[in-house]
């Protein structure tokens, strides 16, 4: 559950990050983000961040789950911020890759 929460949070933060011109430019080379894409990225980003909360609550029940979520958010955004200046493409591509991997691990672990 917690790896899934981390993966979703990472993806959410990456989406929010790419909605910004400076970081969009770092990854895709184009400085201007098309308006609809920026909006879609922002909505997706916030949605993914919100989705990581239920994973945390399932893992630890309500009160501790919220505390866990705050820790997960910090832990997820840190590698993004550290990767961006050195390997922006990798940082961006991890976002769609990590949640499926985490979900797979979850189903394997549940067996």
């Amino acid at each position: 559950m917690i790896p899934l929460a981390l993966a979703l949070a990472y993806a959410g933060f990456t989406a929010l990050c790419l909605a910004m011109e400076r970081h969009y430019g770092e990854v895709f080379g184009l400085r201007r983000v098309p308006a609809w894409r920026a909006l879609a990225l922002r909505i997706t980003g916030w949605a993914l961040l919100a989705l990581s909360l239920p994973s945390c609550v399932v893992a630890r029940e309500w009160a501790m789950g919220v505390v866990l979520w705050c820790g997960v958010l910090s832990a997820a955004v840190l590698p993004l911020v550290l990767l961006l200046p050195y390997a922006p493409r990798l940082a961006a591509w991890l976002a769609p890759a990590l949640p499926p991997i985490a979900a797979l691990l979850l189903t394997l672990g549940a067996r």
């Binding site: 990050c17 910004m20 009160a63 501790m64 820790g71 997960v72 910090s74 832990a75 961006l84 050195y86």
Partner: protein, 519 residues
């Protein structure tokens, strides 16, 4: 008006952070490490590594206590847990010196003594972070509270100052000198901002009974005991009757208490007047399965084993306080939660360190060789604290492995090694150039930490080669985290070594260097 407000908050942020930055660094680093206090304490007592929790641990321990302290007024037994696989006992003994308590560590499987080397363990770091050492206790707590208030003001003024909090959220530009330090400081602060606010405020609240006693003065006419009794519900046990009656079996009491808590485990047992007709047994719940630190206990008649009372749910304010202190201590949630707290704590430590370094770098860039004593003082203190404390902490662990086990005053000497190492590290930057001082201290810290697992292997049987296959994560974790932090310090030392020497332009007196972009 807007501009004036932000400027004044920027000034306030700089000075409230800078004046106490080094104390805050020490508090943050020792505090962050204290998330693993039981693990470090266990690591520092290799004699205990073979101990394992046993199903009849409470019975074994209490049987041993009958012979160890039959006439004591009070036994306090901490049951073994996953993080601490031994039983720890305290008992009141009027013949003991000092605080009139004796203590022992017992094997849960047999109840026999487990002599371990004399050491403060992880408790040294934990106590240091709110009470320092070698400083009178109340003074130290006031100093720490004072610094924590400065920290709170620094965080709040920093939030106000940082106008584009979300726009810069992901911005980190390394290898750009002062700008990188600013980015690093902002990133370390923003990415865990809720944590930093929480840990600072709850830290202050944890000491609030000392720093803000005025409500008690007013509402309880200064009667601290009445206040404490009202909040925590402590009662004094009755005196011994002199009538010897054996203690009822503990097993059923533990089971009934656990049942009362819906399956939660007992963590501690207190026996008052053991072996007497007035005996009572208090069973405390473990404190790592919920947010609040407020004790939950069930009291039993020690002779019949019948339940007398259970502490009820606490009232709102007391529960809020319990949650605040609980959030600060962060013992709940298991290993992953602890790791996340540790990570956030490290980010807080980095936030404080980058703050003071940023100030010195800014001053140095602005003024070059003409920088005054203030800048030089800050630079020296930066190396002494940020480079020196990790060295001292590593030296403490090295001393634990190297000092002879039978040495007199062994625990005190481990602490002496800590302070001697820190003292030398504090003087060292006075004798070296700034860059060399950083390289050498970061390098030494890295070396001490990276070699710690090897030292462990050379001096004990609880090294990574044994603990990893056995799945003893508590012990392996200390070695692994030492390796990780040592690598980080080594990386930092290498970065300092590779940084270009100060540009020639900076050395020319009287002129500014390349334009620093206005912030």
């Amino acid at each position: 008006m807007r501009g004036g407000f932000r400027q004044s908050m920027a000034w306030l942020h700089t000075w409230s952070g800078l004046l106490v930055g080094w104390v805050l660094f020490a508090v943050f680093l020792t505090g962050t490490v204290s998330y693993f206090r039981p693990e470090i304490s266990l690591w520092m007592r290799p004699e205990l590594h073979a101990a394992r929790d046993a199903p009849e641990a409470a019975e074994n321990v209490l049987r041993r206590m009958q012979t160890l302290a039959p006439n004591s007024a009070n036994w306090i037994v901490t049951l073994p847990s996953a993080r601490d696989p031994v039983a720890r006992v305290f008992w009141r003994d009027s013949s003991a010196g000092g605080s009139r308590f004796r203590r022992a560590i017992l094997d849960p499987a047999t109840g026999e003594d487990l002599p371990a080397r004399d050491t403060l363990g992880g408790d040294f770091f934990y106590t240091f972070h709110y009470q320092l050492h070698h400083v009178p206790v109340l003074w130290a707590r006031w100093i720490i509270s004072f610094c924590a208030m400065f920290m709170l003001v620094a965080i709040l003024s920093g939030i106000v100052t940082h106008r584009r909090i979300f726009a810069d959220f992901f911005t980190f530009r390394p290898r750009k000198g002062q700008r990188s330090w600013l980015d690093g400081h902002a990133v370390a602060a923003m990415l865990a901002l809720p944590y930093h606010l929480m840990i600072t405020y709850t830290g202050i609240v944890t000491l609030m009974l000392m720093t803000m006693p005025w409500g008690v003065q007013l509402a309880f006419k200064g009667n601290n005991q009445a206040f404490t009794a009202a909040v925590f519900g402590l009662e004094r046990p009755p005196p011994r009757s002199g009538q010897a009656v054996p203690l009822a079996p503990i097993g059923p009491m533990l089971a009934e208490a656990s049942h009362h808590w819906g399956g939660a485990q007992p963590g501690r047992i207190t026996v008052n007047n053991p072996g007497d007709a007035t005996a009572t047994v208090q069973v405390f719940r473990v404190d790592d399965d919920r947010l609040s630190v407020n004790r939950q206990l069930v009291t039993f008649n020690g002779v019949t084993g019948a339940m007398i009372s259970a502490s009820g749910g606490d009232r709102p304010a007391a529960e809020t306080r319990g949650v605040m202190v609980g959030l600060h201590r962060g013992v709940f949630g298991g290993g992953v939660m602890r790791a996340l707290f540790f990570l956030s704590g490290l980010m807080g430590t980095v936030m404080v360190a980058t703050g003071t370094i940023l100030w010195a770098v800014k001053q140095r860039q602005k003024l070059g060789a003409r920088a005054g004593y203030g800048t030089r003082l800050v630079e020296v203190l930066n190396v002494a604290a940020i480079g020196g404390l990790p060295i001292a902490m590593a030296a403490y662990l090295w001393a634990n492995r190297l000092l002879p086990v039978a040495m007199a005053q062994r625990a005190e000497w481990e602490v002496h090694v800590f302070f001697i190492a820190w003292g030398v590290a504090a003087l060292h930057p006075l004798l070296r150039s700034h860059r060399r001082a950083w390289m050498e201290q970061l390098g030494l810290g890295a070396l001490l930490l990276l070699l710690l697992p090897a030292l462990n292997a050379a001096t004990t049987h609880s090294h990574l080669g044994v603990t990893l296959p056995a799945g003893q994560w508590a012990l392996a974790g200390v070695d692994l985290v030492a390796l990780a932090l040592g690598t980080a310090l080594g990386f930092a030392a290498r970065q300092v070594g590779r940084a270009p020497a100060e540009p020639q332009r900076a050395r020319r007196a009287g002129h500014r260097t390349s334009p620093a972009p206005a912030e």
